[in-house]
């Protein structure tokens, strides 16, 4: 049931993002990986994604800026933010700017999946 879901995972921690992608793939998602804001922006232009999982703190263009640019091109694109900060301040700010939700690292993969489903308006399996 996750087959058709194209998720873009954006995080500068390559090991994290690749492993996460692999695990999502195992659960039937169709994940893609970007390790910087720039890469994510160019990938969004090339391919249509159903949802983006975006890390907030990245070198170069930060998560909020990436989200802003994506939202300006495609306001309907659901975005779930990831934050490594202890505080929820930045996550709340991201939600104010249109993110669907934010999750704290380390992630519970089941929670992520349920959030993805919720964001796409589907009930989880």
């Amino acid at each position: 049931m996750n087959d058709s879901i194209k998720v873009l995972l954006v995080d500068d921690e390559e090991e994290f993002v690749t492993t996460l992608a692999e695990r999502l793939e195992m659960r039937g998602f169709d994940p893609s990986i970007a390790t910087s804001g720039d890469q994510a922006l160019s990938m969004v232009q090339d391919k249509a994604f159903d949802l983006i999982v975006l890390d907030l703190m990245m070198p170069g263009i930060g998560g909020l800026e990436v989200m802003k640019q994506i939202k300006s091109a495609n306001p309907e694109m659901p975005i779930i933010l990831l934050t490594g900060q202890g505080s929820t301040k930045e996550g709340m700010e991201g939600m104010n700017q249109g993110a669907f939700d934010f999750l704290m690292k380390p992630l519970d993969i089941e929670e992520l999946i349920s959030q993805i489903h919720e964001a796409l308006g589907k009930t989880s399996a």
């Binding site: 090991e15 170069g60 490594g84 690292k105 992630l107």
Partner: protein, 577 residues
Amino acid sequence: MADKMKKWWDLCRQIFERDEEKKEMPRRYRRLRRNIIFLMLAVTLIPLVIMAATNAMQYQKNIKAERIKPIRAIAGKAAHSFELFLEERLSAIHFISSSYSYEILSGQATLHRIFRILREEYGGYVDLGIINNDGTKVAYTGPYDLLNKNYSNQQWFNEARVRGVYISDVFMGYRDLPHIAMAVQNLNDQGESWILRATMDTKKFEDLISPMGMDPITDAFIVNSKGVLQSDSRNYGKVLDQFPMEIPSSDSGTHVRELTDPDGREIVMVYSRLIKYDFILVMILPQANIFQPWHTLKQEMSYMFVASVIAIFLVILGSTHLLVKRIREADEKRVIAFRELEYTQKLSSIGRLAAGVAHEINNPLAIINEKAGLLKDLVDQDKHHDKEKLMRGVSQILQSVDRCRNITHRLLGFARRIGVQYEMLDINEVIRDTLGFLEKEAHHRNLSIEFKFDEQIPKISSDRGQLQQVILNMLTNAFAAVKDGGQIVLSSWQKDDQTVALAIRDNGHGMSEETMRQIFEPFFTTKKGYGTGLGLSITYGIIKKLGGEIKVDSKIDQGTTFTIFLPKTPPGEMENE
């Protein structure tokens, strides 16, 4: 006397330094108390002493003047009466010589009769005689056989003939009583001069003087200008003795002298010179007597003075004690408050760190999480034969754990200090270590961080945790000052044999001179709203505690350099908190 002084000194010492306080009161408070006491004593006692002295002098002057005034008046009056008395006696003789002719008077019988009336009316007359132009006594009535005695070569005779009137000094006469002689000259029908001479005792003198001497301590007498006593003195001899002191020659009128007599008594001499006659009326009083009221007053004033000095002393001592105690309590409160602030600041810097640390730890944790999750997935799906994947997962987990451990170790290194703990430190390593906390931020903000370290810099003995806090503060400030992509240069060098230096330079917004002057003051902040205003003041405090110096150099829009100098060995004794 010495014993008394010692007792006083001991008492003072006891008041000054109470034993139990001596132990706990630090030296600066004792010094502060001593200074305040001395200052307050000076500002109270100096005017008091000056005022007391001025008053005393004024009182003394007034009392003396007041006491001498009546004595002076008495002396003046007595001199006047004395003069009148002599005048009167002289005028009686004058009257006789003018009323009767030489011929009548030279008849013994008439002279006898006149002498008798004179004695009855006036009293004190001893004899009466008529001396003719040649100086021969032609008539005489009295106790001696002086008829026909010639006086032509005697001084008094010549003086009487020249001046018409003569009054002798006192001499010992009939029955060894002091006498005085007076003579008046007249002319007979032939134009020859003759003299009427009378002698009288000086009992009347005493009557005149006695009112002056009513006071038993007052010595009143008469002397002539040669200093020979003309009446008995209580202290300075009998009549005709030489008065032992010189009487200053001065014009008539009453004069006052304070002097010491030959017996060493302090006296006041009041004297009045007669106008027409060669007599001086003298009154002598002991100074002690005259100035008795002054002495009483002086004593009372002295008691008063001593009492006020003691009162002032006690009040000053008490109030100073209280004041210094309050100051000390306030100081202690301030220290406690400052420590609390320091603690708050530490908490806030720990809070600041927490965000960064959380991010740094959460990232490797996220990796561990995913890797472990993946391993679980693989096992779940029975894909555990994919050994390479399993191994990679496990080694990634181990690496991430390593990352976490590094971070927690750094964090512990920072949080560890409570007291000052000295150890040998490589300052470069401490800087690098501390920078580790902020590496992520530097990375994310594209800050360029350049190291210009003297790698041969000697190790110093200092406190790692405190230095880390200082460097972290400096770095946080530098990070806040620069824009994203800004530059921060960290350098270290050996300043001299005893000192190493480290500098943190940024190319941020810099600050004005006004700001630079205030940055080390507590609660001064330019980061309105989110700064505590304590970072630099605490940094300053720590550096001072470590025996170092901090210097700032800044230009608006060009950047700021903080330079810290640290001693290789910490200063002497350090207080352990």
